[in-house]
Amino acid sequence: MLIGITLLSFVMIHIAPGSPADLLIQMNPKASPEAKARLRAYYGLDKPVYIQYLHWLKSIAVFDFGQSFSPDGRKVADKILDRMPVTILLNVLSMVLIIVVALPLGVLSSVYQRSLLDKFFTVFVFLGFAWPSFWLALLLMMLFGVKLGWLPISGLKSFNYESLSPLAMLIDYAKHLILPVLVSAFGGLAGMSRYVRSSMLEVIRQDYIRTARAKGLAEGSVIYGHALRNALLPIITILGLSVPGLIGGSVIFETIFSIPGMGQLFWESAMSRDYPVIMGMLVIGALLTLIGNLIADLSYALADPRIRVK
């Protein structure tokens, strides 16, 4: 499966017009065709694609991602590790925020189905879903950054970050994260809360819920103790599938907030045809997808005794 993914992406990248050497010398009056041939040979692009692929596969087998084609020639692994923590941090924070907000939203919507509250929540989450995140981001930056001056506009650290005390550093960092996390969570609310709502609606009509009520349990423990626990099963799948998403940043989003994360790295590499970096990120993505699925399967068993192998 991994081989399939990498083979496909390798071929796709090489089919795309342009090569890493082009960016350095194209339309540059100071660069000659000899310089170009020199660069091509340097990057190994003068060999046939399948040889390049086998070459790459051989080094990837021992977890050597190779060197970036960009002029700094850094190791691909270094480049990715540089960018990964902040993207993961952001995505995890926003995922937590989504779950914390979406669960009660979904539950309330299902318990009070078709009520005014339900309709309000529906409008609210779909607003978040439909609202272009870059626009929302800009509006919030205008309000909190420029007009009120409460929060920094973009980036992750203030100018004087290095001279701050550890606590002040933490506060500074947190302040920079508020807007990005809010904006990205707002967009993700819709999906999660609707899943919770529909799966709750299904569960609530089950016989065992009626039984629970008939036993005279308090409504709260019926909903949260019995219904929600069962309704969460499908949510686990979604969470498992979102594991690879945790390392893939969004380009637009990271660009707006000047966050040097994975999305920007991928975009830059794609535009400069930095093959080793692109391939490195794809492999990691593919691996995580597989791992995410595995985790989801395992946690099913954990959450639902019926699935466990006897």
């Binding site: 660069a31 340097y42 020639g73 800009l138 637009i252 660009t255 830059e268």
Partner: protein, 551 residues
């Protein structure tokens, strides 16, 4: 170098539009304003201190400048390294690491006399051996640099003593002197090592006014003043280069006072910064940039072989209108490949003022008339239509294409516009000569040698005379001008070349846009000059009471 669309600017149209909406909504600003005093006596004494926060939409790629081709890398590296020579404020060549130089044997030999007592940032003394090493690195086939060309023309380079460096060329080569503006690299740190894997690309050590401190990928680069700089310590203690890839965010950062400089768009210059807040806290500058935008014709296409057709199109395009609409008036009409006001610029060439009547006459002389009455001129039953190509990410070029389309329709030429991603644009269309007309731009180099763009030997695939311009007289003049060091003679050649091109119209030269930097007004000592404003950055300072960042 042709202006490449910065890949990150692609989403500008939408974002720019939104930022207009946003800024028109807010008119009260609460942050970043600086109390201004008019204490002139205090202002006049430069003092050390404060920090300058520069901004850009792209991060540097490497800080070994010979390996980089992006402007971000070069602009940061220029504060860290020196060349042997540089241009002064009036575009005159002056010494940098070289104190002086002699041009001997009719231009075959250049002998540089280097400054003494210059030290690398790590304390190691700078000598002519570093220069020889840099030269060898440039010529080494294993160095992936795009700038090797002028150095491959060198027959011999040597250092007779520690502070003399001498190069011998096979033929006198005028652009050679400028090529020694190349950043000189430290031999003691690079010799015998693979330059691509050198730690210097992430942690450079140079001789320049600023010393590298730190670099967070995709976020910022910090430099600090070099106290031992040979031209004197820079006044501003710290230079920070912040990467803010989105131009709308960049503008908001400027507005909140967290960055000290950005390059404005014409719209931002004319409208969005025309508020009292900006007036009180910032200073705007405008001066012609070293670039021009043009409409280029594929001269292999039968449509454009006739000079009269190209002249007609030039008459039919209202260049002032392009400037007024696309640049909001912040530019001037281009008449040739040089910047107005420089020593090579010939102001007296044939101009093509807007004149649709004349355009129609020229076209009908060339046989193009509306025979069938459908509003489109034709010849031998074939209508006159062509496609203008330009690249994604540059809205100015797209707007130009639309206005040109409108004007040419009026004289009966049908135009289609196609906007294409840069890599495919170059590979599929320009390099394979599969285009009819393009709108693109060139930067204008300080040395006027344009051999690579206009000489008829440079028309092979991937070479830069992609419009296939051939004019024997221009070829001769280009060759003559690049093999003499006599400035008067060179000027004469380039004046003649501009006259011929004005007549031939291989391009319709459209305009030279203006550079529009905005800088926080606590910085003193900025003196706009023909070279721009950055040339004396080390002399900028902030009066003590206005200093914002205290280290």
């Amino acid at each position: 170098m042709m202006k490449r669309p910065n890949v990150i600017t692609r989403n500008i149209p939408a974002v720019l539009f939104l930022s207009i909406l946003l800024t028109s909504a807010g008119s009260v600003f609460s942050t970043g304003s600086i109390v201004r005093t008019s204490d002139a006596s205090e202002k006049d004494i430069p003092v050390c201190g404060d920090a300058f926060i520069d901004s850009s939409i792209g991060d540097a790629s490497t800080l070994i400048p010979i390996l980089a081709s992006d402007s971000a890398s070069h602009s940061v590296a220029s504060l860290i390294y020196n060349g042997l020579v540089k241009y002064d404020r009036d575009l005159k060549m002056v010494g940098d690491l070289a104190e002086s130089w002699d041009i001997l044997n009719g231009g075959l030999v250049i002998r540089f006399h280097l400054r003494r007592n210059v030290r690398w940032h790590d304390g190691h003394p700078f000598t002519a051996r570093d220069v020889v090493f840099t030269y060898k690195t440039m010529c080494d086939p294993k160095t992936p640099t795009a700038y090797a060309d002028p150095f491959l023309q060198i027959k011999d380079a040597q250092a007779p003593d520690d502070f003399t460096f001498q190069v011998t060329y096979t033929k006198p080569f005028a652009p050679a002197l400028e090529s020694w503006g190349l950043s000189i690299l430290p031999k003691h740190l690079l010799e015998g090592k693979d330059i691509v894997k050198s730690p210097l690309s992430r942690h450079p050590i140079g001789t320049g006014p600023y010393i590298f401190k730190s670099w967070e990928s995709g976020a910022k680069i910090i430099l600090i003043a070099n106290p031992d700089y040979f031209e004197g310590r820079p006044y501003i203690n710290e230079y920070m280069y912040r990467v803010i890839p989105d131009s709308a965010t960049l503008f908001l950062e400027l507005k909140s006072g967290t960055i000290d400089r950005m390059g404005l768009t014409p719209l931002q210059y004319q409208r969005q910064t025309a508020t009292s807040y900006f007036f009180n806290s910032f200073k705007k500058y405008r001066y012609p940039s070293f670039s021009y935008t043009y409409l280029g014709y594929n001269l292999k296409n039968p449509l454009f072989r006739d000079k009269r057709v190209r002249q007609a199109i030039s008459y039919a395009i209202n260049k002032q209108e392009l400037i007024d609409v696309v640049l909001m008036g912040l530019g001037q009409i281009a008449t040739g490949p040089y910047k107005p006001g420089t020593w090579v610029y010939n102001p007296d060439v044939n101009r093509y003022p807007y004149n649709p009547q004349k355009a129609r006459e020229l076209l009908s002389q060339a046989g193009w008339q509306d025979h069938d009455g459908d509003g489109i001129i034709d010849r031998d039953g074939k209508p006159f239509e062509f496609t203008i190509l330009t690249n994604i990410g540059n809205t100015q070029r797209a707007k130009c294409a639309e206005i040109i389309q409108y004007r040419l329709t009026q004289i009966g030429i049908k135009i289609k516009i196609r906007i294409i991603e840069w890599a495919s644009f170059i590979n599929q269309f320009i390099n394979q000569r599969r285009f009819e007309a393009v709108i693109l731009g060139w930067t204008i180099p300080q040395d006027p040698d344009l051999y690579d763009i206009w000489h008829s030997s440079k028309t092979k695939p991937e070479e830069l005379n992609f419009i296939s311009y051939r004019n024997a007289q221009v070829d001769d003049l280009l060759e003559k001008a690049r093999h003499t060091f006599n400035q008067e003679e060179r000027r004469h050649c380039y004046f003649k070349i501009q006259e011929i091109m004005a007549e031939d119209q291989p391009y319709t030269f459209l305009f030279v846009p203006e550079a529009l930097p905005i800088i926080h007004n606590r910085f003193n000592g900025i003196e706009p000059a023909p070279l721009g404003i950055d040339y004396n950055f080390i002399k900028w300072y902030v009066p003590k009471h206005l200093q914002k960042y205290v280290p």
